[in-house]
């Protein structure tokens, strides 16, 4: 079992509130329980091995917000409900209870993040942490303080293993 819940070391801190370390199985459970989860992927997801996992997660029926130019990795995939949106816009809209979501079906209640630049997503999450009640889980390779929960800092290998475990649990 890939233990990604350790090494929550931050190199700089935003303040006293920090993401909880979490494990694939817990993430899977939270996704199950969520009414309107959203899977938000960044451009780094286009790396081959990561993309395969991202697609697999998307195929579990979670709508995808493809940020950066990551949409390229989801265009021809069947069973994938992916739409392009800029992450800074997405972060803005997610704080707005009046936003209808990517599909006009209303707000989301759980955000799962993968494939983002660490420093960038940590900033976007800083907005969500401070100005929304949204639960956010970063399943990327770096611990991000500003998520509600986050995988710890891991090697690429352990990270892929964790994602596989997550997929198995979904």
């Amino acid at each position: 079992m890939a233990d990604v819940s350790k090494n929550l070391k931050v190199y700089t801190t935003y303040g006293p509130k920090s993401a909880k370390g979490t494990k694939p199985a817990i993430v899977a459970k939270m996704i199950e329980k969520a009414k309107r989860p959203l899977f938000v992927v960044g451009s780094d997801v286009l790396e081959e091995k990561l993309l395969a996992r991202a697609q697999a997660i998307a195929k579990k029926g979670i709508p995808v917000a493809a940020t950066g130019h990551s949409i390229k990795g989801f265009i021809d995939e069947e069973e994938v409900d992916a739409k392009y949106i800029n992450i800074h816009f997405l972060g803005t809209f997610l704080c707005d209870p009046k936003w209808g979501g990517l599909d006009d079906n209303g707000c989301y209640d759980l955000i799962i993040l993968l494939g983002h630049k660490k420093y960038y997503i940590n900033q976007v999450l800083s907005g969500l942490k401070n100005f929304s009640d949204l639960k956010t889980i970063n399943i990327g390779r770096h611990y991000t303080q500003n998520a509600t929960m986050s995988f710890g800092n891991t090697t690429p290998e352990v990270h892929l293993e964790a994602l596989d475990e997550l997929i198995d649990n979904l």
């Binding site: 935003y14 803005t92 960038y120 770096h142």
Partner: protein, 801 residues
């Protein structure tokens, strides 16, 4: 001398009185009345343009992404504001972040106008207050100054009035940073806008002063090219390196070198905007630049660590704080020349040149503060000659040897501390592994992506000088870093605006892409080349400045050509312009102002709101600060924003803490008035932001095209813009954009080649009604096509409001 007091004097009473006219000139009110029409906001104070700001902020909401959840301004604190809590003074997270953003904006504005003040003092000293301003073929010498202060400067001395205003206002804004001032975020936002506007006035003052006095190109349509890159420096010669932004002192060095025939015997090269401005010095009329450009801030530490410079002269801004500490290690004396950076060095301004040189070459002193530029002009080049000999004799080496390199790479324990500390989280550990196995390519790639900040070294538990390792591994690449950068041309001339203005406003030139800002790119410098080349091929006008202008010149295509060599340099579609250094960014806003003034005949004097309204609704320009980094970039961008020009930042720009983002789904926000009758018009959501970030170049490409769309586009213009938007989206994202149809007002707005396909989509996917016989849209669009409509956001500008 007796004093004149307020009162009414008849001139004949003033017999035998000497009036010191020199100091009076600046004070005489050149009331804008003389200049013809006058707008309502001459020298607006903090609340002077608040109404306009509120209009912008109502549509483009401030979005905060705090860099820190705490406030540590006062000693009640530190206060934790997480979750928008209130601190001890009652400020909440929103308010504090708006304040923080404003502070960064006015810091940037102060850097520029502080630089301007220093330069102006110096140039007035040297050339006199009545020295005429000369900026090229234009009747509007200083568009930003005139628009904001209501005055037309004509001499160096006239610029003092504008700077005095800027300084007064900046102090008002800094006062607002104090505990217990503004309480609401939205008013901090308006104040930030004010700071951004002031910045462009300050920049304009700085640049037109130096353009006028220092024989820099004046709205030149084809300024010369300059060499750029570490590879262009002949390290066999004595090398004098200058770093910073204020060229004042360097001109004395250049003059001394010429007067003493040193030009061929040594290398004078520069980093950052001082370098760019050096190449502008005395190149009016096409002369060859007197110095070489090494590159941007990202090259500072790299250049020093290379060991090549023999002497370093710094002036102000974007100079690494560790220059003295780093240079000391390599026996390079450092001369500071500006009171903004003094490094604790002894002030030798009053001392004898020989004594100074002696103390420095003997190593008795690490460096010297020399505020006397004439003295500097002599000391720096002479010292360089001496140090070159001494340093070669002593065999000063900097980068590791092959052997040391191997030891260093194998010392790495792959703890990843460097990667997590690296601002860009670069894969240093993997590169170490590869290098250990003899493969240097990974490091060569890092060399371009690395911003040269050195934080990796601070983090390394094994004390590996990571940057030295990268540089050593990249020697081959560095030797080939030889490019060309076009010398900064200054303003856009009136004839150019006259010719191109109509295309811009009507949309037949698809837009202006202004690439400004610093070299803090998320994925290396080549991205700049990709953006510029893509947009230039599509006939956008691309304007460059500062660090971006330099980095763009570092890349060559397969023919060995840089884009500066490939594309002409007029203000015309498909042309590539370098306006100049950091302070030359004012010419970008100036160009937009001049379009309103010259093409549309709008009065600009003291008429900010109307001009900004014009730009927002009619001038399809987008700023890009892909390597957004310094506080100056935030003030430049914010100055653009208040004037209605949207700006896209790279992902690091999210650390400015706030964006201005519109919500396309809020339908009531996307309306304007028609100035002909005051009626409300629906408009598409473009520009859909004033400040935002993008993750990658690929993502940004379609954003650029989309956000050049303006309510005023005619159908030809809209068609062209929409074509590019769709094409770029398909090319870089692989999809037709979700919202393409929102920009369609009639079938004539549709890309010609794909009209039928898209009409079908409109019918099938969006339920629009199409008359297939005439191939016309019958119903569907939310905004109407009316080429003679006059979109405005300002009620008072409507004829019957």
């Amino acid at each position: 001398m007796s004093e004149l007091k307020t009162g009414t004097f008849s001139v004949s009473d003033l017999e035998n009185v000497q009036i010191n006219i020199g100091s009076i000139v600046g004070a005489i009110e050149k009331t804008a009345a003389e200049e013809g029409e006058v707008g309502p906001t001459i020298k607006p104070n903090i609340s002077g343009l608040r109404d306009w700001d509120y209009k912008l902020l109502d549509r483009y909401n401030a979005v905060y992404t705090p860099m820190c959840d705490q406030c540590c301004y006062c000693t009640f604190g530190t206060c934790d504001l997480t979750g928008n809590k209130e601190g001890a003074c009652g400020i909440n997270m929103e308010g504090h972040n708006a304040r923080e953003f404003m502070l960064r904006v006015i810091t940037g504005a102060s850097a520029h106008s502080g630089h301007g003040r220093h330069l102006l003092h110096h140039l007035i000293d040297k050339y006199g207050a009545d020295y005429p301003l000369k900026v090229g073929q234009t009747n509007i010498i200083a568009p930003n100054v005139q628009m904001v202060t209501g005055k037309k400067p004509e001499t160096l001395g006239d610029l003092e009035d504008a700077l005095g205003y800027v300084e007064e206002q900046l102090v008002q804004l800094l006062a607002c940073v104090h505990m217990g001032q503004e309480g609401e975020a939205i008013d901090f936002e308006s104040k930030a806008m004010h700071g951004g506007m002031l910045d462009h006035v300050g920049m304009e003052v700085s640049d037109i002063a130096q353009i006028s006095c220092l024989e820099m190109p004046k709205a030149d349509e084809e300024p010369p090219l300059s060499e750029i890159g570490m590879g262009t420096i002949d390290s066999e010669k004595p090398v004098l390196l200058v770093i910073g932004h204020n060229v004042a002192g360097v001109t004395d060095i250049i003059d001394y070198m010429e007067d003493n025939d040193l030009t061929e015997n040594m290398e004078l090269c520069g980093l950052c905007c001082t370098a760019l401005d050096m190449t502008r010095y005395r190149t009016e009329g096409g002369d060859v630049p007197k110095a070489k450009v090494v590159g941007t801030l990202a090259k500072e530490l790299k250049m020093i660590r290379s060991g090549v410079p023999d002497v370093i002269v710094v002036d102000e801004q974007c100079v690494r704080a560790d220059v003295l500490r780093e240079a000391r290690e390599l026996m390079m004396p450092v001369i500071t020349t500006n009171d903004k950076i003094m490094y604790g060095l002894p002030d030798r301004s009053e001392d004898d040149v020989e004594d100074i040189i002696d103390d420095l070459k003997s190593g008795r002193e690490d460096g010297a503060l020399i505020l006397d530029f004439e003295k500097l002009g002599e000391v720096a080049p002479r010292l360089t000659q001496e140090m070159s000999k001494i340093r070669k004799e002593k065999g000063v080496v900097s980068l590791p040897t092959e052997e040391e390199f191997n030891e260093l790479t194998s010392r790495c324990v792959h703890c990843l501390a460097c990667e997590l500390e690296c601002p860009t989280n670069l894969p240093i550990s993997d590169a170490m592994t590869a290098a250990e196995e003899g493969d240097l390519r990974a490091f060569e790639l890092l060399h371009d992506k690395c911003v040269g900040c050195g934080r990796c070294e601070q983090a390394c538990p094994k004390d590996i000088p990571v940057l030295n390792v990268i540089e050593k591994a990249s020697q081959k690449v560095i030797r080939n870093e030889k490019g060309k950068v076009r010398v900064g041309r200054g303003q856009i001339s009136d004839p150019e605006i006259r010719e191109e203005g109509v295309n811009l406003v009507m949309g037949t030139t698809p837009g202006i892409i202004a690439m400004v800002g610093c070299s803090n790119y998320p994925d290396g410098t080549k991205d700049l080349y990709r953006i510029a080349d893509e947009m230039l091929r599509r006939n956008y006008i691309v304007l460059m400045s500062g660090c971006s202008a330099m980095d763009l010149g570092m890349y060559q295509n397969d023919d060995g050509e840089t884009l500066y060599e490939k594309y002409p340099a007029k203000f015309q579609k498909g042309n590539l312009i370098n306006v100049g250094s950091c302070v030359s960014n004012s010419h970008i806003t100036a160009a937009a102002i001049k379009v309103a003034a010259i093409f549309a005949q709008r009065n600009i004097t003291g008429n900010y709101e109307e001009i900004a309204d014009y730009v927002l609704n009619r001038v399809g320009a987008v700023g890009v600060a892909w390597g957004a980094y310094s506080q100056k970039a935030s003030s430049i961008g914010t100055g653009c924003n208040r004037l209605g020009i949207p700006v896209i930042l790279g992902p690091h720009g999210s650390k400015y803490r706030r964006a201005l983002i519109g919500k396309p789904y809020e339908e009531d926000k996307w309306k304007v008035l028609d100035a002909r009758n005051g009626e409300t018009m629906d408009i598409p959501a473009a520009p859909e932001f004033l400040l935002t970030t993008a993750e990658t170049i690929d993502e940004m490409m379609p954003m650029l095209a989309k956000n050049c769309i303006r309510p005023s586009d005619n159908n030809m213009g809209r068609m062209i813009k929409l074509t590019h938007y769709i094409e770029l989206s398909e090319k870089y994202l692989g999809v037709l954009p979700d919202d393409w149809y929102r920009f369609v007002r009639s079938e004539t707005d549709l890309p010609l080649a794909r009209r039928e396909e898209l009409l079908k989509k409109l019918e099938q996917e969006y339920g629009w009604e199409i008359d297939w016989n005439k191939k016309k849209i019958v119903s569907g669009p939310t905004s109407k096509l009316d080429v003679s409509a006059q979109p405005t956001n300002v009620e008072r500008l409507c004829k019957e409001a």
